[in-house]
Amino acid sequence: MTLLQLAGVARSVRLPDGANLDILTGIDLAVETGDHVSIVGRSGSGKTTLLNILGMLDEPTAGTVTFEGRDVRGLSARARDIARGRDIGFVFQQFNLLPGRTALEQVVMPLMYSHGATFWRRRELAAEMLERVGLAGRLDSKPEKLSGGEQQRVAIARALVRKPRLILADEPTGALDIDTGATVMALLDEVATESGAALITITHDLHVAARARRHYRLDGGILRPADLELAFAASTLAVDASAEAALGLSVADASPTPDGER
C-alpha cells in the first residue's frame, strides 16, 4: 500500500531581488508501508527542504503530496499538525533533545499530544520504548549525562513511541562516530522494521544510505534513483570522475559532516 506519494513536487523561494530560486523540481516519489528509502545528496541539494515537505512541515509550491491517499494540501494547519504527531516520527542530526528533561520525559513528550489511553499511559509507554532501545537504566538521565549514541537512542525512542507510519531520519548519524553511528542505524532499522513503519533516511553517509532497500540521490533539486555501488567506488578510489558524476557526490561528501542544508 502506498503510504506517501509525491507527484511533480517543486519548491521555490523568492529572493530579495525578486528572482525565484528553485530548490526542488519535479520530485516524484512513492513510499510503501514498511519501505526503507535513503536519499543522498551534497550540501545545498535540497535534502532538508524535501524532508520538511515529506514531514508536512513545509508545503510545495507545485505538485501534490498525498499521505495514505489524502492530499496534504487539503488539510488545515491544525489537521496537519495532528497527522504529523500521529503518523510521522522525526530523528534529527543534532538529536534535538529538550534541555533539562530526563530521557523518560523526552520520550513522554510526543505522547503529550496524543489522546485516550495513549495519553494517560504515557509514562509507561515511554519507559517501555526506552527499554526497547536499551536505555532501561537511564530513564532519569538528562541529555548532558548521556553519550551521543545514547542521546540518539533517546531520540529514536521519542520518534517511535507513538508508533508512526513513517519515520524521517535527517542525518541520524551525522553527530556520531562511525561505530556508534552503525550501532544506532542498526537499531533504527530494527525497530522500524519491527513496527512496520516506513523509514526515509536523508544522509551524506553512503554506509548509512546502503542500509536502505531503495536509494535516491538529490542533485540540484532533482531526485533520481542512485546506484550506491558506483558511489562506493567513487568514495573508495576517489578518482573515478564518472562515479562521482553519477551520484553528485565527492569523497568528502561521503563522510559525516554537520549539515548546512537549505
Binding site: T48, L57, D81, G85, G89, Y113, G116, W120
Partner: protein
C-alpha cells in the same frame, strides 16, 4: 467530559508545570515582583482592616463602643448642679429601661502614695460596666466586677506606669496603694492597664464610683460627671430621643440635659482608612504591573532561547493552539504559584503577635485575615500572568517549525 477530551488541557498544564520545574531559577527571578505585588495587595487590605479595628478600639476607649450614649447635665445660669440629686434622677430613669451596661464616669485627681511620697495622679471614677463600654484592656489582674464594692479594702485598677513606680508587684501578691485626702486609706490593686505606647507615662488610678462617693457627705460642687449607656446600633436611634425626653422631664429651665452618641460609629463619616487603602492599593497595583512587565520581558527572552524546543514540539504534533495554551498556562500557573506564595507570606506575617502589636499596639480584637482580599490578589496575579503570557505565547505560535528546528 470524556477522559480523551481533557487530555489536551491536562497535557498543556503538565507541560507548563514541567517548564516551570526545569527553569526554576528563571521563573523564580521573574516572579519575585509578582509575589511581592500580590503580597503587598493583600497586606494593604489586611493592614487596612487591622488599622480600622485599631482606630475603632482607640475610639472605643475614649467614646465607648458602638453605640454609647453619653448623658450630661449643664447649668444654664449660675445655679450649681446637685450631682447627687441628678445621679438619683438618672438612675431612676435607667431602671425603667433595664439597660444591660451603664456606668457613671468622671475625671479627677487623687493623692497616691508612691515611694517618693504622696503624689497627685489622674483618676477615673467609674462603674464596672465602664470596662466593657470602653473596651478597657488589662495587662495584669482584672477589671472591676460588681462585687468589688463589698471588699474590705476597696479595689482600684492602676495604669502600667504607676504600677512600675510601685515596683511592678505581682497582682497575685495582692499589692496595695495608699490614697490620701478624703479617700485616705489603703486600696487593693486588682488590675493594671497597659501603656498605650512607649510614650505613655500617665500615672492613673481607676476607682469605683461608689468607693469614691462613700467618704463624702455630698459630691463636691463643680464635680463633673456623666452617665453612659451601651446600646446596640439598632436600638440607639429609637431609644435616645425617648430617653432624653424622660431625663429632661421634671427639670427646670436652668439646666440643659445633653444626650449624645459619643462612640466612634457616630463620629466617623465614611471609612477613615479609605485613603490609606486606595493609596497603598494603587502602589501595590503599580508594583504588580511592573512585575507583569518584568515577566513579559523575561518570557520573551526565554522564547528566543526556546525556539528550537518549540520547533521540536511542533514536529511531534503540537498544534499552534497547544503551544499558545502551554505558554499562556506557564505564565498563569507561575503567577498563581507566585501569588499564593505572596499571600502565604502575608498570612504568616499577619499571624505574628509582634507584627500585629507593632501595627496596632494594644488591639484586643484582631480582625480575621481578609481572605476576600487574598482572593482578589490571586485573581489579579493570574490576570497579570495571562496578559503577560499573551505576547510570548503569540511569539511562540509564530515560530515556524522548520526554522525553529534549525535555529
Amino acid at each position: 467530559m470524556a477522559r480523551a477530551g481533557i487530555a489536551p488541557f491536562v497535557g498543556a498544564i503538565g507541560e507548563a508545570w514541567d517548564e516551570l520545574r526545569v527553569h526554576k531559577l528563571r521563573v523564580l527571578l521573574s516572579l519575585i515582583g509578582v509575589a511581592l505585588a500580590v503580597g503587598a495587595l493583600t497586606a494593604v487590605v489586611a493592614i487596612g482592616d487591622l488599622q480600622r479595628q485599631f482606630m475603632a478600639e482607640m475610639n472605643d476607649r475614649w467614646g465607648g463602643r458602638e453605640a454609647t450614649l453619653t448623658i450630661a447635665q449643664y447649668p444654664n445660669g449660675n445655679e450649681p448642679i446637685d450631682q447627687d440629686a441628678w445621679n438619683a434622677h438618672v438612675e431612676r430613669v435607667f431602671e425603667r429601661y433595664d439597660f444591660s451596661h451603664t456606668s457613671r464616669s468622671a475625671q479627677t485627681e487623687l493623692l497616691a502614695g508612691l515611694p517618693e511620697g504622696m503624689t497627685m495622679v489622674q483618676a477615673r471614677i467609674v462603674d464596672p460596666a465602664f470596662g466593657t463600654i470602653h473596651r478597657v484592656n488589662i495587662e495584669h489582674g482584672r477589671w472591676f466586677v460588681p462585687a468589688d464594692t463589698e471588699l474590705m479594702a476597696p479595689a482600684v485598677v492602676i495604669s502600667a506606669p504607676l504600677w512600675e513606680r510601685l515596683g511592678s508587684p505581682s497582682i497575685s501578691t495582692h499589692p496595695t496603694v495608699r490614697i490620701g485626702g478624703a479617700w485616705e486609706g489603703v486600696y487593693q490593686v486588682v488590675g493594671v492597664t497597659p501603656k498605650q505606647g512607649v510614650w505613655d507615662q500617665e500615672l492613673r488610678i481607676d476607682m469605683l464610683f461608689d468607693d469614691f462617693r462613700a467618704p463624702m457627705d455630698a459630691l463636691p460642687t463643680g464635680f463633673s460627671m456623666q452617665h453612659e449607656v451601651w446600646l446596640t446600633a439598632a436600638q440607639v436611634g429609637e431609644i435616645a430621643p425617648v430617653l432624653a425626653q424622660d431625663l429632661r422631664a421634671g427639670l427646670t429651665e436652668e439646666f440643659t440635659v445633653e444626650v449624645r452618641r459619643s462612640d466612634y460609629g457616630a463620629q466617623m463619616g465614611g471609612d477613615p482608612m479609605l485613603v490609606f487603602t486606595l493609596i497603598t492599593g494603587a502602589i501595590a497595583g503599580i508594583v504588580l504591573l511592573l512585575g507583569g512587565l518584568g515577566l513579559v520581558n523575561i518570557q520573551l527572552v526565554a522564547m528566543r532561547q526556546r525556539i528550537r524546543e518549540i520547533g521540536v514540539r511542533r514536529s511531534f504534533g503540537a498544534t499552534g493552539g497547544r503551544i499558545f495554551l502551554a505558554v499562556m498556562l506557564e505564565n498563569v500557573v507561575a503567577t498563581l504559584v507566585a501569588g499564593a506564595v505572596g499571600i502565604i507570606i502575608v498570612v504568616v506575617l499577619m499571624q505574628q503577635t509582634f507584627v500585629v502589636q507593632g501595627l496596632a499596639p494594644g488591639i484586643s480584637d484582631v480582625p480575621p485575615f481578609p481572605f476576600a482580599a487574598a482572593l482578589t490578589g490571586l485573581v489579579a496575579a493570574v490576570g497579570v500572568g495571562a496578559i503577560a503570557g499573551l505576547i510570548p505565547a503569540l511569539v511562540a505560535v509564530r515560530v515556524k517549525p522548520i526554522d525553529a528546528i534549525r535555529f
